[in-house]
């Protein structure tokens, strides 16, 4: 079978399963008795093994198989999930991840057999059990044979005449070993039923609530296409009795009759399959892998239904490039709409109410369209942060510090492109917090703190921004030390240091010169690669800020824009030029009499309801033409960045407008305040001012 076309799906799904295993193992370590978790782990490991087998990755399959054995014993209550056991299992997961990354880069799993891990797993198995699993085999064999036989061969029991395939038989025997029943069902639909396909689908769905349909005759596709008379048969692996299934299936309307009974294979066959399954457990992956293969082909509807959760059924995987194209088209549409609006406001057409209404309608539609496209690009941050608990656990062992990671807001959504980039900076911050932020357990106790350190990762939406905070309750940043080091290094003078606020000092940490020098560890431990973090976040259009309190911990706050391409802006005029200010950062707009402006240390400030706010004359900064008559009142746009405010002086306000951000290219070098350009309704180009960068 040529499986290369499924490689991408395999990689995606393997990633998901590995992630799920990672998560649940962490839970298992804490709650060894949690049955749901064990089942979830078992399920993921089993699918993983089946998939690896189907794709022909033998080493991966073998390792998963041995891990699955251990999971199986845990599930059967024969072993306890001790910390050392979990360690080995985690090592196994890492090895699997290595296989996967090999597959991703070279399309083969590599040469590493990971014998060590496999041996460790087998040792655990032998120690933990001390006895061969023979009794289990006897038990299962008994169970398959015992079910009450419905000896009466009834014409109606058509399922008895259905030919059962090899791998299905194996699945049945396997089910028997797990203590589940295999039940055959024949469903008769009323002759007057108009939508036979839909009816069959409803019955199957009802049945699936109670078990797993392993075979349909005719096939699911034929059922759907109504290529059957008025009856069909199904085989179900379930915990329920035939009577129960008959009852629920009969409840579906337009079902005339349902017959069902236990299925038993000839005992000779059962024994031979049991033997095969026991001898070579790898073969048990067969029904699973066959199922997976089927679900990949997507032709076999019931199998596909079981492989994916109902939620996944309602989603499609879309190439991000296609979404980019869609987003660009929406941008063009918004520019065209802005053009229409500007024409309508110039011409007399405006007086035509109908035209006006239509324009407003168009505006609503484009805004909604933009929002919807934006939402399709949004991914919960969970996909990035869910690997962190594992990382903190490892760090905790490595650094020999007790610590816990608390995460909230994993469901917060961000643009896909941002999600792809945000992982590394966050990891960096968490490592910093674990390594340098938290004190050793002994030091913590001395300081009267809980000996276990806490790291918090909180994500939430705040207006047009998504905020991610990485917090710890460690020692905090010693600003005095930073100050001294900075003076020593010559990056600031003694005088400057005198005038610097706590905030300015912390900002030094984000300077590149502070990242590579060895003194960092002497200074505070902070600053390792913080400039890289900052650069990355700024490249994403976001910003980072740090707060700290000596002895109580530090907090790194990242703000990211919800969207990258289209924003709401305030259009203003400075001199005789139009500029766009992103609405997200604007707090208020004030009329300030010129006489209210005070000068402190050579900087102009105003007193805004008790807060001293520095003002920036954008006209001077951008070398715009000055107005001939100096106005008596200044129009000041108050901008907020984190906790800081600043006032931007503009000459005129035009109004709010939705704009599409375009780059001005790499050839022109200009002030950092110019973050891009946009095309206005009349075709003019207006520059976008990133007023935040001035605050």
């Amino acid at each position: 079978m040529d499986v290369s076309q499924y490689l991408e799906i395999f990689i995606e799904e393997t990633k998901e399963h590995l992630q799920s295993l990672n998560q649940h193992l962490l839970i298992l370590e804490r709650e060894p008795e949690n049955e749901n978790t064990i089942n979830e782990i078992f399920r993921a490991a089993h699918s993983l093994k089946g998939m690896a087998g189907t794709m022909g990755y033998k080493r991966m399959q073998r390792l998963t198989h041995d891990m699955e054995n251990v999971f199986s014993e845990i599930r059967n209550g024969k072993m306890k999930a001790s910390s050392s056991l979990v360690d080995v299992l985690f090592k196994g997961l890492d090895a699997l991840e290595n296989y996967l990354s090999n597959i991703q880069s070279e399309a083969n799993e590599g040469e590493d057999d990971n014998e060590e891990i496999i041996n460790a797993l087998n040792n655990i198995l032998n120690e933990g059990l001390g006895q061969a699993p023979t009794p289990k085999a006897a038990e299962t064999a008994k169970e398959v044979i015992t079910p009450t036989a419905q000896a009466v061969v009834d014409d109606k029991l058509k399922y008895l005449n259905v030919k059962i395939e090899e791998h299905e038989k194996k699945a049945m025997v396997k089910a028997g070993m797990l203590g589940l029943n295999v039940i055959g069902v024949t469903v008769y639909i009323h002759e007057y039923c108009v939508l036979k396909g839909a009816r069959a689908f409803m019955v199957n769905r009802t049945l699936e609530e109670f078990g797993e349909i392993i075979k349909l005759n005719p096939s699911a596709q034929d059922l759907e296409d109504e290529k059957y008379d008025y009856d069909y048969s199904a085989f179900i692996i379930t915990k329920e009795s035939p009577e129960k299934l008959i009852k629920v299936a009969s409840n579906v309307s337009e079902v005339k009759e349902v017959v069902a009974g236990f299925i038993q294979l000839p005992s000779a066959e059962v024994e031979s399959y049991t033997a095969i399954l026991k001898q070579d457990e790898a073969a048990s992956a067969q029904p699973q892998s066959a199922k997976e293969a089927n679900s990949l082909k997507a032709g076999n509807a019931p199998a596909a239904k079981q492989a994916a959760k109902p939620v996944a059924n309602r989603s499609v995987r879309v190439d991000i490039d296609k979404l980019d194209v869609l987003m660009n088209l929406v941008s063009e549409l918004i520019i065209a709409k802005n053009g229409l609006i500007s024409i309508s406001s110039e011409k007399e057409i405006m007086t035509d109410n109908n035209f006006h209404e239509q324009i407003e309608y168009l505006e609503r539609v484009t805004t909604n369209l933009h929002e919807s496209v934006m939402k399709t690009r949004m991914v919960p941050i969970e996909s990035v942060v869910n690997r962190f608990p594992r990382m903190i656990r490892d760090l905790s062992k490595k650094l020999e510090k007790e610590m816990e990671l608390y995460m909230t807001g994993e469901e917060t959504e961000l643009d896909r492109t941002v999600i792809d980039e945000i992982g590394d900076p966050l990891m960096h911050l968490l490592r910093n917090a674990a390594d340098h932020g938290l004190e050793s357990n002994a030091d913590r106790e001395k300081a009267g703190k809980n000996s276990t350190g806490s790291i918090y990762l909180d994500a939430y939406q705040d207006g047009n921004n998504v905020v991610i905070e990485v917090r710890d309750d460690g020692a905090g940043i010693n600003t005095e030390k930073i100050k001294r080091k900075a003076i020593e290094k010559g990056s600031i003078t003694e005088e400057q240091a005198q005038r610097m606020t706590e905030k300015d000092i912390i900002d030094i940490l984000f300077q590149p010169s502070f990242s590579t020098a060895e003194q960092i560890t002497d200074v505070s431990g902070r600053g390792v690669g913080l400039d890289v973090v900052k650069t990355k976040i700024e490249a994403l259009g976001g910003e980072i800020e740090a707060k700290t309190k000596l002895g109580e911990g530090s907090n790194f706050i990242i703000r990211l824009p919800l969207t990258l391409a289209i924003i709401q802006s305030l259009m203003v005029i400075i001199g005789d030029e139009k500029y766009a200010l992103p609405l997200g950062s604007i707090q208020t707009i004030e009329d300030i009499p010129v006489t209210d402006i005070k000068t402190i240390q050579g900087k102009e400030v105003i007193n805004l309801r008790g807060t001293v706010v520095p003002i920036i004359r954008l006209g001077n900064l951008l070398h715009c033409k000055n107005r001939e008559v100096a106005p008596e009142e200044l129009l000041v746009v108050i901008v907020k960045k984190g906790e800081r405010l600043a006032g931007m002086v503009v000459d005129e306000l035009i109004g709010q407008q939705e704009i599409v951000i375009k780059s001005i290219g790499k050839y022109i070098k200009s002030h950092k305040i110019i973050s891009g350009a946009t095309i206005l309704g009349n075709g003019e180009v207006a520059l976008i001012l990133d007023v935040n960068s001035l605050v």
């Binding site: 951008l622 790499k666 200009s670």
Partner: protein
């Protein structure tokens, strides 16, 4: 037959300058240019070229000549320094004709590293009795790292 190259002749301060047509995307009439504050002085700003933001530079300024007011003959030549690179507009006084020069009639300039302005030229072309300064588009647009 010797190899030939085609050049568009642009006028700057009455001098003739040739631009290899392989770089040229388009020639457009003057448009309203949005000034970019605090940029390099030769960059006049950006224009909207069918929905794309394109920076434009004054070739007079770049080549060290005095700026002149734009007239109805002024043109913006849209060029790409490399295929696939973002376009840039060059403001010239006038665009007249396309000439075909044989490789023999192009005289390579002696290379002088100290004179940056000379680096903007790839040579002098002889066309009839006229001499044409042939410009190197990439070195005009892409600034050397300092």
């Amino acid at each position: 037959m010797a190899e030939t190259k085609q050049f568009i002749i642009a006028y700057l301060n009455k001098g003739q300058f040739g631009i290899d047509i392989k770089y040229i995307d388009n020639i457009i009439v003057m448009q309203s240019i949005t000034r970019i504050p605090k940029s390099q002085s030769f960059f006049k700003g950006v224009i909207n070229l069918r929905g794309e933001i394109v920076p434009v530079l004054s070739l007079r300024n770049k080549l060290g000549m005095d700026e002149a007011a734009h007239t109805s003959k002024s043109r913006i030549i849209i060029v790409r320094p490399e295929s696939g690179a973002a376009p840039v507009g060059l403001i010239v006084d006038e665009v007249r004709e396309v000439v075909t020069l044989e490789q023999d009639s192009i005289e390579k300039m002696t290379y002088d590293d100290k004179d940056e302005k000379a680096n903007y030229s790839i040579g002098i072309g002889k066309y009839g009795n006229e001499l044409i300064n042939l410009l190197s588009v990439p070195s005009i647009i892409i600034e050397k790292e300092q």
